[in-house]
């Protein structure tokens, strides 16, 4: 039978064939595994709504407020009883807790030490020494944007 017993060259050939084949399969796995893992949707599932566009005008009823993420810091957007919007940093000027809107009090409140701010961000009661830094609210059609004062 030609090729039997296998010569040196033929031996080398089959070694090479296995080396090439084996490493190719390993390579294929190393490439395809990340691709398939990538395709699997992560647990969180969805991207969070951005901090700059806060939502739609109809999402907010008068005398309501919401804390949103603005970059890496929290911001609070409120809709006053008269329907107009205002936005401020949600970082309390006392010791940097996150403030919230209290519809029952009709003002912005800090849970840590009972600090209170009026709807213009001015500190009116409790330990906060300064008003909340205001942000600009821009209404484009139905969408609400907040931006740092340029």
């Amino acid at each position: 039978m030609p090729g039997f017993p296998p010569t040196g060259t033929e031996q080398r050939r089959s070694f090479l064939k296995y080396l090439l084949g084996g490493s190719f399969i390993a390579w294929l796995v190393a490439v395809l595994y990340p691709v398939f893992a990538y395709l699997k949707p992560p647990k969180v599932g969805e991207v969070e709504v951005s901090s700059i566009k806060v939502g739609k005008v109809n999402d907010f009823s008068p005398n309501s407020g919401k804390v949103v993420r603005f970059g890496n810091k929290p911001a609070i957007i409120i809709r006053k009883p008269d329907g107009s919007f205002a936005a401020f940093t949600a970082i309390c000027t006392h010791l940097a807790c996150t403030v919230q809107y209290r519809p029952d009090l009709g003002l912005i409140w800090c849970a840590c030490h009972n600090g209170k701010y009026d709807l213009n961000g001015k500190n009116i009661a409790g330990p906060p020494p300064r008003p909340l830094e205001p942000y600009k609210v821009i209404l484009k059609g139905d969408d609400i944007y907040i931006t740092r004062e340029a």
Partner: protein, 513 residues
Amino acid sequence: MDAFHTKRRKNIFLLLKRLLSILAATFLTILSSSHTYAVAHQRTIQDQCYACHQAMGDKPGSLYGRDIHHKIGITCAGCHGGDATAEDPEIAMSKKAGFVGVPTGNAVSEMCARCHDNAEFMKSYNPLLPAGQYAQLKGSVHGRASTVANEMVAQCTSCHGVHEIAKVTTPASPVYPTNVVRTCARCHSDPTYMKKYNPALRVDQFELYKTSVHGRRNMEGDPKVAECASCHGSHDILPAKDPRSHVYPINIPETCAKCHSNEKYMKPYHLPTNQYEEYVSSVHGVALLKKHDTGAPACNSCHGNHGAVPPGVQSVSNVCGVCHTLNAQLFEGSPHKKAFDQRKLPECEVCHGNHGVQHPTDAMLGVGEGSVCSRCHTLGDTSSGYQVAKVMRLMIDSLTNRQGLAERLLKEAEQKGMEVSEAFYNLRGARQSLMEARTAVHAFDLATFKDPLDKGMKIANQAVLDGESAIHEYYFRRWGLGISTLIITVLAFGLFLRIRQADREWREKQRRM
């Protein structure tokens, strides 16, 4: 001239008077050289104006004898102008002699200022007397225009009197410490009058003052205690809202300390004098005096203004609670309120101190060394205080540690280039929980305390997980790269050998062709 007042009589009379004047002047000069009042100029011994008016018995005439100006030899002409040497009223009170009559409005104070604003001149009478009061008055709130006519609200004479001006250091003066309160109250307790200037200004200061310690002692005749001028100033009074005022919040501690930090001054009262020192280094002091935060309390915020009195033992939490509402509320619902009041312990002050109150730290909580709870609570006491304190401290410590761990891990991950901004953002919640927990301590009840703590722990634990997985991911990537590179190297080697083989075959084929 009439039958009596003949020219000859007049001349003789005048001559006699002149001789007498010279004699008396010489006599008095010798006498006065040892007097504290040095005389630099010729003095009229006989104030003809006064002589006449006193004889007439009118108000100025009867009062002026007691006046300090009269005693040092200033005649009526000194303020009214004219010729004090002249007996004849027509000469004495003539325009030619410079008589101005009764000055009105600002002319009054300007008249006083002619001497009193001249430092050189005043030194010749009393080197210790200040000068420049008129300038101060003009710049003060009393220097503003009054509602009648074009003059200042107050003239010098409004407070010092007119013809019976006494040295301010004598009880006869209306501005002597025991009198000044009533002098100020003449206007400041009159609502109808004050309404014309500032309808929002209170008019009960005097009434309040009477209830205060300062007021009571002042009524008893003590000139050392604080009265209106001690705090508000005398000539340079400014509204409390004016940053230059002695009673502007940032200036108040210093104003009170003028007396209250003076050991010698306060000795007879047996009061401590370290309050200012303590206050300056306290949280409130630093906030007010260094950071200029006028929301921070000065002495009057806790002690009151005119009705100043240290708060009673059972009212301490009310006073502190004016600003620290949440803590006060929790305290008042806590078992400590009844316990402290029963033992006459001054509530907030027991743990936090009063004037020297510092930033509270976690070290104050618990039963370890330096804790305030252990001052009363010991192992085995009947209340559950010891246990509660111990557990509270343990819980707060564990959250602080967990949060610290999370921060370290996330920082490390961030340094390694991993995206952890969202985890940092969420970790803020742990910090907030710690703050809320530290406030919740004041309920001295584990159930209330656990709420924010559990919330915070959950957040911190999640952040620790996020940090760990981020760091793990970092290493995983490097390992993954290493393994992939290994595989690729082997495959590349295999390819290389295959290329060599193909080249060999090609060369052979070429040779055969």
